[in-house]
């Protein structure tokens, strides 16, 4: 593992890593049961420098912003390295956004270059949103069929290496990437993440989670997310480990990858962990009674012998069949980005499979706190990482207050939004909007949110402002979307929902026709962004002099309503 604390930029660290681990396998790419690609660090370097040279020949200069919109695959990482090699700034965008949303963020980021895959480009090129992003001058597209029209883009596969590209050095305080934590429908939040943010975060995580050659990381969370960028690229690559990508993310192929590639680590969102648990419980229940009894006895023995700390080697002996189903080499799951029920984590701990439950946010680099896989607990999100300070602001009688974070992993600010940056980073402390407290052992526990947003079990952050545009033109006097828990605070992160608050016209009723209109608009949103209920409010919304809704004041008034009866199902 390279000592990341000694580097000035992630490009420089990766450059050294590609030479140091030249003969190791860095990437495996599989599509269903077919292995598509297996690259050594040497192969990776050769391909990335070809792209870096193509960028250089296209006029790419230090600091140029380049968007990547791709599924998890080798070319995502090759693109990232090529951009960093040329001293550029990455703009990783979520490939699951709609084309219009992608163009909107491409425009906001002022990206001059875009690197994408043909199926995504086909939709982007056909979208009317393209007109809004005239800043995107150069587009590289990969995996286009030979006869496909590229609508002004250049074909990646045509690039020939015409000489050595020049490496462009960057300093720690330079921005390495702009990562959007929200803002597809409202106010874009482009987190400017510096080289130092990444290097310090990487250095801190490896003090808790070991990476080295021979480790295999299964990358299924989108790489545009800081978690996968860190765990599925920067850390494995700077330690000579291997990243496995799957082109088809069906549960059966994910399960197959564990045994096929002997996976060591995988970061998941709670929904996936819960689904794995459900599948295993169904398998256990289908066992003949005698075998089920024996299995339960072994689980009890394992639990007793690993109560103080996991002993994975012992659990692999006691519960061999279970561990072999995960390839027999699994060291730990990491879970985060959304609330995970302790019972789900405990299920795996009882089987001798460590689960490192973590807490983090894009604005803080990646992780703020993480459970050590050697001493994991199911009921907390672990201790703050080395170098990260966490304090509880304005704690209540139970010690619960807003979490504020300080350290070298906190972002430089939001792109082109000094006002929002000033509200979010106060005297060097990042105000997270999350509520929590420390227990006696120094572990952090989360209790809810202060901010008006929800996080789904799929770890999608949904901000009400981002989805309100779909309801524009609704025939009512006023409307507004809220996170229900923002109006009616709960000490819970389970079952978070969005609600549509309506102020009807005088004499207007919530008719079936209006409900149908709302449902139709709601269904235009991606499934995880939809509102779950309607709240009727019989006063005009409080507004500022510039007619913006005073959301906090409105929320206080709505809180006077009884939650149980106020939310009408859609």
């Amino acid at each position: 593992m390279l000592d990341l604390s000694k580097y000035q930029s992630i490009g420089a660290a990766l450059k050294d890593a590609l030479d140091q681990f030249a003969d190791e396998t860095c990437l495996i790419e599989s599509d269903r049961q077919r292995e598509k690609e297996r690259l050594t660090y040497r192969d990776f370097k050769e391909r990335a420098l070809r792209l870096a040279r193509a960028l250089q020949d296209a006029g790419f200069e230090a600091g140029d912003r380049t968007a990547i919109i791709m599924t998890n695959q080798s070319k995502w990482l090759i693109s990232a390295y090529a951009i960093l090699y040329r001293g550029g700034v990455m703009v990783p965008l979520d490939y699951k956004l709609t084309p219009d949303e992608q163009w909107q963020l491409l425009s906001h980021s002022n990206a001059a270059f875009l690197i994408t895959e043909y199926p995504i480009w086909r939709q982007l090129a056909a979208s009317s949103g393209r007109a809004a992003a005239i800043n995107v001058k150069t587009i590289f597209v990969t995996e286009a069929p030979p006869s496909a029209a590229l609508d002004g883009a250049q074909r990646w596969e045509d690039f020939q290496r015409r000489g050595e590209p020049a490496f462009v050095a960057r300093s720690r305080t330079d921005v390495a990437s702009i990562v959007y934590s929200s803002g597809t429908g409202g106010r874009p939040k482009g987190c400017m993440t510096t080289h130092e943010n990444y290097l310090e975060q990487g250095h801190a995580i490896t003090q808790v989670i070991a990476f080295q050659a021979g480790i295999r990381y299964l990358s299924i969370l989108p790489t545009n997310h800081v978690v996968d960028f860190m765990m599925g690229f920067l850390l494995p690559f700077t330690s000579g480990a291997t990243v496995v990508h799957l082109r088809t993310l069906r549960p059966e192929f994910v399960r197959d990858a564990f045994t096929r590639y002997k996976i060591s680590y995988m970061m998941v969102v709670p929904l996936i962990l819960k689904n794995l648990k459900k599948g295993m419980e169904a398998n256990f229940a289908a066992l003949p009674r005698s075998k089920r009894t024996a299995l339960n006895a072994l689980i009890r023995i394992n639990r007793a012998l690993t109560r103080d700390r996991p002993r994975v080697w012992l659990s692999r002996i006691l519960l061999g069949q279970v561990h072999r189903a995960f390839g027999g080499q699994l060291r730990a799951f990491g879970v985060g980005s959304a609330f995970t029920e302790p019972a789900t984590i405990q299920f795996f701990l009882d089987l001798g499979i460590p689960v490192a439950n973590a807490y983090g946010l894009t604005e803080a680099g990646t992780a703020v706190s993480v459970n050590d896989p050697c001493t994991p607990r199911a009921d907390t999100v672990g201790k703050p990482l080395p170098g990260t300070e966490v304090r509880i602001v304005n704690p209540d009688a139970d010690g619960i207050g807003e979490l504020a974070v300080r350290g070298k992993t906190v972002m430089a600010g939001y792109l082109d939004d000094p006002e929002l940056t000033a509200e979010t980073i106060v005297d060097g402390w990042l105000m997270t909007g999350d509520l929590g407290r420390f227990d006696a052992a120094g572990h952090l526990r989360l209790f809810g949110r202060k901010k008006n947003m929800i996080v789904t079990a799929e770890a999608k952050n949904i901000y009400p402002e981002d989805i309100e545009t779909v309801f524009e033109g609704l025939p009512v006097k006023e409307f507004c979307v809220f996170a229900a828990n923002y109006i009616w605070p709960r000490r819970s992160l389970v079952g978070e929902q969005l609600v549509l608050v309506l102020r009807l016209e005088q004499g207007q009723a919530l008719t079936d026709e209006l409900r149908r209109d709302i449902s139709a608009r709601n269904n235009r949103l991606l499934n995880y962004k939809r509102v779950h209920g309607i709240v009727l409010f019989d006063e005009d919304f409080p507004r500022t002099a510039s007619l913006k809704i005073k959301r906090n004041v409105l929320a206080e008034r709505l809180a006077q309503l009884d939650r149980a009866t106020a939310i009408l199902p859609l």
Partner: protein, 80 residues
């Protein structure tokens, strides 16, 4: 060769059977997440069932953002 209507009906029948929802309660324009009450992982399970049934492979990008039976059936039809 199936018609698009036949394909759509087979998609509805398979979804009804797999998620134990009455067949007559499903319509082509229904949002399958909402109507079947499923999450994104269960939707992926449904896709695997459909692939086996129709003997095709549907790349993930083909079904990205699709949430109604009719569009899903049309993506399947284009691969038959």
């Amino acid at each position: 060769m199936r018609t698009i209507d036949q394909t759509t009906q087979e998609v509805l029948a398979l979804a009804s059977k797999h998620f134990q929802v009455p067949a007559n309660s499903l319509a082509p324009d229904d949002d399958f997440f909402k109507k079947l009450g499923i999450d994104s992982l269960q939707a992926l399970e449904l896709l695997s069932r459909l692939e086996n049934h129709f003997g095709i492979e549907l790349p993930d990008y083909e079904v990205q953002g699709v949430s109604d039976f009719r569009t899903l059936a049309s993506r399947i039809q284009s691969r038959l």
